[in-house]
């Protein structure tokens, strides 16, 4: 698992690559926490290269989403592979996290 960030058009894009499972979820949590800097306004979670995630990783995403909401930071997710998209839907995450087909669409929606 690898997490990288880039600033694009005023949004912080957080790219997660590889597998997030019970053994590396704590590192994933740290990486997301470290990605957010003071004054952040818009965050996009790009999951195009996220190949696997289980409930341990979903838990981290939920806690992160709660944090962003508390801090009034707009956020969305994009580019989920089909299997990951299924997991999000079964978990009801699609009801609390806006999911877009591409980074471009996510950016347009965040404005």
């Amino acid at each position: 698992m690898q997490v990288t960030t880039e600033n694009k058009n005023g949004s912080l894009v957080i790219v997660t690559e590889g597998r997030v499972d019970g053994s590396n979820a704590p590192e994933f949590q740290e990486a997301l926490k470290d990605a957010i800097k003071e004054g952040e306004q818009k965050v996009i979670l790009d999951f195009e290269r996220l190949s696997y995630i289980s409930s341990a990783g979903l838990r981290v995403i939920l806690m992160f989403a709660k944090q962003l909401r508390r801090e009034n930071i707009a956020f969305s997710a994009c580019s989920l592979i089909a299997s990951v998209k299924d997991i999000f839907a079964i978990s009801g995450f699609d009801k609390i996290i806006p999911i877009h087909e591409s980074q471009k669409e996510a950016m347009a929606a965040l404005g």
Binding site: S23, Y52, S54, L62, K66, S83, G92
Partner: protein, 136 residues
Amino acid sequence: MPSLKIKTEVAELERIFAAVDELGSQNNWPDDFIFRINLVVEEVAMNCIKYCHMEGVSYFEITMDPGNDVLTIEIIDTGRPFDPLTDAPEADTDSSIEDRAIGGLGLHLVRTMTDDMRYRREADRNHLTLIMHKPS
């Protein structure tokens, strides 16, 4: 038929995933089916790793039988009696982001992604059987 003796340690996940991937490629199963097997096996294994370990249990067992029409996965542990069909709390998949409860998603995913789930307590062991229809 792969049968694994697993230590109640998170580091064992790697060995579990390797066994699932190997079984998947031997049977030419599509990636999304292998993804789902990895997921359900991880979820039940993680529960065992967490709770059995707390109870001082050092090992549990996973067998995967690719059978004919269905894949049968059995997890056997010597932890205290736990029936995931009745003893686990319902997952919260509806509340707003502020109210959404954290946890319980693992077994919810397992219930959704398997076609049948059976539990029995036998000879002081928990036997959890998961049935998954194989892709045609």
